[in-house]
C-alpha cells in the first residue's frame, strides 16, 4: 500500500471511520511492530507500545499534515516516541531481563542494496562507521548519550561529539 492509499484511509480515520482504521492497521502494523520490537526488544512491551501508538493515531489522525512527511513516516514517529516514553517509564533496561530469542539483531535489516537507494542511505554511508553506529544505537535503541558511550566503549564527551559531528555531516549531505 502506498502513501496515497494510507492518506485516503487516514482521512477517513480522522472522521471516525473504524473500518478504515482497521485497514490502516492491517496495512501498517507489521512495519510499525518491527520498529517497536527493535526498540523495546521484548514482545509484550513492544505490543503495548504498538497498541498505545494506534490509539493515539486514532485520536490524532486529524493532526497529520503533509508537512509531517508521508503518513507512514508520521506513524513511525508516533511509535518511536511512545517506545521512548515506555522505556523511560518502565526502566526496561534496569529491570526486565530479555529473553535471548526475543532480541533482534542487525540481521533484521534488509540489505540496503535491495531497496531503492534513498538520499539518506547515501548520506549515512558517507559517515564514519563509529558515527553511523552511534546514530543507529540512539535511533533504534532509544539510548542516551551515556548509554551510547558505554556501548561503543568511548568516553561520554566523544560519544556526544560523534553524534553531533555525524548529524552535521548528515545535514550538509542532505542539503538542509
Amino acid at each position: 500500500m502506498d502513501h496515497e492509499q494510507h492518506l485516503g484511509l487516514l482521512k477517513k480515520v480522522a472522521v471516525g471511520d473504524r473500518a478504515a482504521f482497521q485497514k490502516l492497521y492491517e496495512a501498517t502494523s507489521a512495519q510499525l511492530y518491527a520498529v517497536s520490537l527493535k526498540i523495546m526488544q521484548n514482545r509484550d512491551l513492544a505490543e503495548d507500545a504498538l497498541q498505545e501508538a494506534f490509539i493515539r493515531i486514532w485520536h490524532n489522525a486529524q493532526e497529520y499534515t503533509p508537512a509531517k512527511g508521508k503518513v507512514l513516516t508520521w506513524m513511525i514517529s508516533i511509535v518511536r516516541y511512545r517506545c521512548f516514553d515506555a522505556l523511560r517509564f518502565n526502566k526496561v533496561r534496569q529491570g526486565n531481563g530479555l529473553e535471548q530469542e526475543e532480541v533482534l539483531t542487525s540481521d533484521d535489516f534488509v540489505e540496503l542494496t535491495e531497496i531503492e537507494k534513498k538520499q539518506l542511505d547515501f548520506c549515512m554511508d558517507e559517515l564514519e562507521s563509529k558515527q553511523k553506529q552511534a546514530i543507529h544505537l540512539a535511533f533504534f535503541g532509544g539510548l542516551t548519550h551515556q548509554e551510547v558511550s558505554a556501548h561503543i566503549n568511548s568516553p561520554l564527551g566523544s560519544s556526544k561529539s560523534l553524534i553531533r559531528r555525524g548529524m552535521q555531516s548528515l545535514r550538509r549531505c542532505l542539503g538542509l
Partner: protein
C-alpha cells in the same frame, strides 16, 4: 542561545528526533516548538529523513490480540462517552495516551488535596484535568476543567514570585496563538471563568507562562514555562 539560528535549530531538532535530547532539555525544546513553528517544521524534516531508516526493517506481524485490545479500548471509550451526559465532547479530541506518570502524579495531587482538606460533596465532576509539572515531573498545579469554570489548585512546589504572575493559556491544535485563560494563584485554589472558545476549538495543551504582575502586557505569553496535555475523565 538563539534557538532559531540555522545550525542550532538543526542540531537540536535532529537530537530531539534521534532521542538523545533528554530530560529538561527535551521538555524545554517541546515548549520552544509550541512557540516557534519553524522549529516544529525542522523536527518534521528530520523525522522524514530518519524514519526512512525504520522502513529497512523486515515487517513482523503482531499477535492478533493487539488489534483486539485496541478495538476493546475504542469500544470502552465510546460507551463512556455515551454515558457522559454532562457535556458533549467531540470524540476526536480525546487524548488517551496521557502517560502513566501524569496519571500517577494526578492521583498523588488529588490525594494530597483530600488529605489536607475536609471532604466536600462535589457539586459537579470535572470533565478534564491535567497536572502541570516541571522538568523533573514535580507537580505544580492540578487543573480541573468543569462545564462553566476552570479550577487550579497550586501545590507547595510552586515557586513564589513576588514580582511576577503565572498565567494559564490554552494552546490551539491548529497552531494559532495561545489564548489566555487567566492568572494562576501561587498558593491555594484559583477559580477561573471558562472561556467560551474552550469548547469550540481543538486544544493541543495548556501552557503556563511567567508574566509581569497583572499578566501578559501584549496578549501573548512572555515566557512559556510549562506545557501540559489535557486528559478526559
Amino acid at each position: 542561545m538563539n534557538y532559531l539560528q540555522q545550525e542550532t535549530k538543526h542540531a537540536l531538532a535532529a537530537e530531539f528526533v534521534l532521542g538523545t535530547l533528554h530530560g529538561s532539555a527535551r521538555a524545554r525544546f517541546r515548549q520552544l516548538m509550541v512557540e516557534h513553528s519553524e522549529l516544529a517544521d525542522t523536527v518534521n524534516q528530520w523525522e522524514s529523513y530518519f524514519n526512512d531508516m525504520a522502513l529497512h526493517l523486515n515487517p513482523i506481524v503482531p499477535d492478533d490480540s493487539v488489534w483486539e485490545k485496541i478495538q476493546a479500548r475504542l469500544d470502552n471509550a465510546k460507551i463512556k462517552s455515551a454515558d457522559d451526559n454532562v457535556v458533549s465532547l467531540p470524540q476526536k479530541t480525546n487524548n488517551f495516551w496521557k502517560g502513566l506518570s501524569v496519571l500517577a502524579t494526578a492521583a498523588v495531587v488529588i490525594l494530597a488535596v483530600l488529605l489536607v482538606k475536609p471532604i466536600q460533596q462535589p457539586v459537579e465532576d470535572s470533565i478534564q484535568f491535567t497536572v502541570v509539572t516541571d522538568e523533573q515531573n514535580t507537580p505544580l498545579w492540578l487543573i480541573e476543567i468543569f462545564t462553566q469554570k476552570i479550577e487550579a489548585q497550586a501545590t507547595k512546589n510552586v515557586l513564589a514570585k513576588a514580582n511576577n504572575d503565572y498565567e494559564l493559556w490554552m494552546v490551539p491544535k491548529d497552531g494559532s496563538a495561545p489564548i489566555s485563560l487567566g492568572l494562576l494563584a501561587q498558593t491555594g485554589k484559583t477559580s477561573l471563568p471558562k472561556n467560551a472558545i474552550f469548547e469550540q476549538i481543538d486544544i493541543a495543551a495548556l501552557a503556563v507562562s511567567l508574566e509581569p504582575v497583572g499578566g501578559s502586557p501584549n496578549g501573548s505569553p512572555t515566557e512559556v514555562l510549562y506545557i501540559a496535555e489535557l486528559a478526559i475523565l
